[in-house]
Symmetry: C2
Subunit: 87 residues, 2 copies
């Protein structure tokens, strides 16, 4: 499947979640990662996030798409991580 993950976590956990997600997905913008994952990887990612975040304070949204559905996107302003590098 294809996933987009956006997070809003306490500043004390930002580096931890960023370096964890970087191992599995492509960084596209501050607090946003995306990429293709298998079902097993997806479960590992969710487990890893759950272990890092404080569930009473932090928020992580995972948007899920079928593997063949890579969402269209438009960038306004700076492209922090050009699409060519990640797709």
């Amino acid at each position: 499947m294809y996933v987009i993950i956006v997070y809003d976590v306490n500043v004390s956990r930002v580096n931890k979640i960023k370096s964890f997600l970087r191992k599995h997905l492509n960084w596209v913008q501050n607090s946003v990662f995306e990429g293709e994952v298998t079902k097993a990887e997806f479960e590992r990612i969710k487990d890893g996030i759950s272990r890092i975040i404080d569930e009473d304070e932090d928020s992580v949204i995972i948007y899920k798409f079928p593997l063949d559905f890579v969402p269209k996107r438009e960038i306004l302003g700076v492209e922090k991580n050009p699409i060519d590098d990640i797709i």
Copy 2:
């Protein structure tokens, strides 16, 4: 169409872009808005964002989906703005 907008803008423009997007879309998390828009609204949103941001410094990603395709999502941790309120 259905859009998800994520932004990473200089702190001096955060309030401006947030209050602009709030008029058109639903706030779902820090720096993330989403919702259904017509093609005309979509163009107005892009124009408005372009007028607010500094294109050399800020970054806004707009993910676009067909109107009947509302992406599936999972929330880990806090649901900052419950789905029931926005969909």
